[in-house]
Symmetry: C2
Subunit: 446 residues, 2 copies
């Protein structure tokens, strides 16, 4: 693969002592080999000038729905249940090719905006399509085949329990740490009411066998919590705890409406809370108690969730909203900029159990690096105010270069690995195909 | 000036019947001459292709602080009073040149991001510098000289009452409807406690004499409201009403903490509420009751307020936040996308009493027009979901072309009228000069 030297940047390391420096980074193959104030250009095959630019760890988005990217802007200004009633039927009408295109469209946008690692909720079926898109594009990802086998699951998405468990294990065998790509596996459970008790027991066994985490949604919406309490006699968090699903650092998106008892379970079981600001606001779900979670030492990371609600996949916006939401609720000094920025990189790495490999710029770590252009809208620039600038003034479109695992995937603001214009055309055709199928099946009114 | 034809765009008119169409717009001199599905290219001197692009009215930002743009990122994660204690002393240390550069930096960013009209709060002194920047750049603006003459005003900003009134009138005589530029005048009052009673009476007389509006801040912060009640025995809104300042559609920024009595005064006096989402969240001021104001038929418009708090001047972000803030507080169906979009253009025009001239794309109106690029992050594109796309997926950096009063000021994403690199250099030097002066005077600790 060779070596790349990033020269003369302002480097925001996010290492433990939060070092920032004007300097250089030498990448050899997939790893950071040196990070110093001056490295000789002769040491590298390729030199990238980062003069007047910012160099930072790539973003880690810990909760996304690749398969829903095609449904951008299709369901807006709706309560969560009304929104789901449009999006879930559409999701069931993918074919393997449209699922691939949807994933690739998401990944292209995220790479362009500086995201280098994602954690996908997946869908029923087509897990291989998402994995193929991850492999083809070069992004880093945690992926899995989603379980939805309960009677609560609409028929158009429901699958057989045995088949679900078998496909879950097959997917892990095929893709977990596969040397051809940057994939680790998780097991996505869509929602506590979407999974049968036998499947809960089954995925618990698979998770233990392969030492991989379970990824789910919980406590997003008040009405949702009430329905679950009625059905299960306890909350999602208590139910999954009872079944032993938290043994390997469970990843739970949202966690907005959480009792003291549930907070205790989250803390004691080292659960990661995956915070999704844009979607929580847009669906009027509420404002998660992030300030309190952080005070308790609970791991918080962020993600764009889904383009079908968000309708962007720009982690800069999520950082900004994560800070603004807490400030208006908890006071202007809450969620200071440096702490907020950490949620988007090193805390995301911790959520995925990858903090020894990614999330900060340090010698020996994988080379997942983003270079940002300074601009009119980040002027005047004060290096000692870098975190405020990153949260409030910079934006995904300022990304100049995105490097994942030592490979340059965006350069001068352009995705390098594939033709974006072709992808846009494919996406426009794909959404037509999905909606036509949905209309034919009586699942969508157009 | 000649004629410009914008060809083959998807036009979002924001006229009364909210027409959208694929078509062309012919600009002659400063006005829209034709808007039709097909206009022959031979009719124009210049043809701009808008194929696969969106054509919309330029944004109107009804509350900005041009002079504070230089203070971007300098005071973050602070309560409002602590923030003011950093920013106000810096503001007092401008010279005429730094005030000009600060205004030009703001205007460059706003033009680049699709804003064609602004309403500036101004500062004490240097009103001519802001006007000169508006004139030199070609943006449309309401401007004025700010009044701050009470004992409550810190000495470093306080001015003599007579001098303030004289300069206010002189500024209006010089700039109001001056044919060399696109300026109308307002009278900015910083804050009710910053203005003496004689000045209130004086500006009321000037406002009536020249038929121009008064622009102020009120009811932003709970503590602020309490202090004012203690000092004046009534609220800002009641105080200004008592003095007759509302006769010409007063413009009041924020209006977050407002009693039923104050709401009644706002409604009955046709006051415009200038909503500033980012700054209201960041300073933890609160969430203005925009849904209720709209239900009452009160005019609401939006603005970025100040780069010293925001720290962006991108109206797309304000639209998005205006919607998201209401949704999480008032439900997911509140602030639908079309209604939110109107706050950023036609409702802004109404706030400035310019709705007959700007704010929508209609034959006979001034040619204040923005063309947006479609992109990876607005794919798939659905023309019938245009308002959701504009609020949630597009962004300032998608602006391809900005036209003000028939003049092209941004083309292919680049500001055309002046050298941005020079401006950035000037801004970096200017902020050094201001902070050095502030340190020397003991007003800033660096």
């Amino acid at each position: 693969m060779g070596s790349i030297l990033i020269k003369n940047g302002y480097i925001v390391t996010m290492n433990e002592s939060l070092d920032t420096l004007y300097g250089d980074i030498l990448i050899e193959n997939d790893k950071i080999k040196k990070l110093e104030s001056c490295i000789d250009s002769s040491e590298a095959d390729v030199v990238i000038s980062a003069k007047d630019k910012i160099v930072m760890p790539g973003f880690i988005q810990t909760h996304v729905h690749l398969c829903q990217t095609l449904f951008r802007n299709m369901a807006n200004d709706l309560e969560l249940m009304d929104w789901l009633n449009i999006i879930m039927p559409l999701e069931s009408c993918h074919d393997s090719e449209t699922a691939y295109i949807s994933a690739k469209l998401a990944i292209a946008e995220m790479l362009r905006f500086g995201t280098t690692t994602i954690n996908d909720m997946g869908t029923v079926g087509f897990a291989d399509a998402a994995a193929q898109a991850v492999k083809d594009t070069g992004i880093r990802a945690q992926l899995g085949r989603t379980i939805m086998d309960s009677e609560w699951t609409p028929e158009y998405l429901r699958h057989d329990t045995e088949k679900g468990l078998q496909e879950t294990e097959d997917f892990i065998k095929k893709w977990h740490n596969n040397p051809s790509c940057n994939i680790t596996c998780g097991i996505p459970i869509r929602w506590v009411l979407n999974i049968s008790d036998p499947s809960i027991i089954g995925v618990g066994e698979i998770a233990r066998k392969y030492n991989i985490p379970i990824h789910t949604h919980a406590n997003e919406n008040i009405q949702e919590c009430e329905v679950i309490l009625q059905e299960k006699g306890m909350s999602t968090i208590e139910y999954f705890y009872k079944f032993g699903l938290m043994e390997n650092k469970m990843q739970i998106a949202h966690c907005i409406w959480v009792s003291e008892q549930e907070k205790k379970i989250i803390k004691e079981n080292n659960v990661s809370v995956l915070h999704c600001p844009s979607c929580n606001l847009k669906a009027a779900s509420g404002i998660a108690p992030i300030t309190e979670y952080l005070r308790e030492g609970i791991n918080i990371s962020i993600g764009c969730d889904t383009a079908a609600c968000n309708d962007n996949l720009d982690q800069f916006i999520e950082m900004k909203l994560a800070a603004l939401m807490q400030k208006v609720n908890r006071g202007a000094t809450s969620m200071p900029a440096q702490q907020t920025f950490a949620l988007a990189n090193i805390e995301g790495a911790r959520a995925l159990n990858l903090e020894k490999r990614i999330g900060s710029l340090e010698v020996g770590k994988q080379a997942d690096i983003v270079i940002l252009n300074r601009n009119l809208w980040s002027t005047p620039f004060h290096d000692h105010k870098i975190y405020s600038a990153l949260i409030y003034s910079f934006n995904g479109r300022d990304v100049d270069t995105t490097i994942v695992n030592g490979k340059i995937l965006v350069r001068e603001g352009k995705v390098t690995g594939f033709d974006i214009h072709e992808l846009v055309k494919d996406a426009e055709a794909a959404i037509k195909r999905v909606t036509e199928r949905a209309i034919k099946k009586g699942l969508y009114r157009g």
